[in-house]
Subunit: 123 residues, 2 copies
DNA sequence: CAGATGTATGAATAATTTTTCATATGTAGG
DNA sequence: CCTACATATGAAAAATTATTCATACATCTG
């Protein structure tokens, strides 16, 4: 029952496509934290943090273990660091507009640059 | 005006978090295609394909160039291949359930395995 | 075991995103 | 310049996802 990339990737990327969850992942780069700490750090409700931790753990971007009363969440660095690295490389090379995607005008400008510097690749 | 990861990553990952767009990216691994070809291959409306091509190009996951009447879209392999590679590695190691995220039961089972095989990392 | 602390859950509402359909724009050829 | 082909766009409707709030559950401590 092999499934193709586009099917299997969807959970993976949609779990990452959320500002709160990305903020949690970034926070956990600094080390394991419990739910309350995460909520305080991000200025978010505890229940919202819990709701968002669930898909992150389901996809195993984070791990968790109980420690006394609390539950410590930690980052799956093996996956997340390469992912962040690819993002950073891409955004620095292709999206120099402060790391975000391009506006219409910026896109036109980039395409012009690409064309003149032969970076443009059509394969 | 440096922005943190969680802000800048959002466009990047949310553009990938869509089945149609993932299918387009996968299709373009096979080489450049025009809009009509993509629509036919995916059995989707042309307008829907166009709508989905836009964010992909905005984030520069794909490039495009006009060729006579049509417009040829091609994959930014430099970004997409490492991304797919990270996904495949992750899903094979952490989500052996056919490449998708885990169900409740599967997650418990995995955590048990992690614990016994010392793969579990808390950092 | 009662209370305190920490976390998870369900369900309603709110917000965002996707899809569709009609139509506009852009380009090449006769 | 008229027509056909190729692609893009806007706006409404549909679908999905996020957020909130109340409350349940689980664990530790005295």
């Amino acid at each position: 029952m092999k499934r193709n990339l586009s099917e299997t990737c969807y959970d993976f990327f949609s779990t990452l496509a959320n500002p709160t969850r990305l903020a949690i992942l970034e926070l956990l780069r600094g080390g394991p934290k419990n739910v309350t700490d995460i909520a305080n750090n991000l200025n978010q409700e505890q229940s919202m943090v819990s709701h968002n931790l669930k898909p992150l753990e389901k996809c195993r971007f984070i791990f968790s273990e109980r420690k006394k009363r609390e539950r410590l969440y930690s980052l799956n660095r093996e996956t997340m660091e390469p992912l962040f690295k690819t993002f950073i490389y891409h955004s620095e090379k292709y999206c120099p507009a402060g790391g975000r995607c391009l506006t219409e005008g910026e896109l036109r400008e980039q395409k012009r640059k690409d064309a003149s510097s032969k970076v443009f690749v059509t394969h």
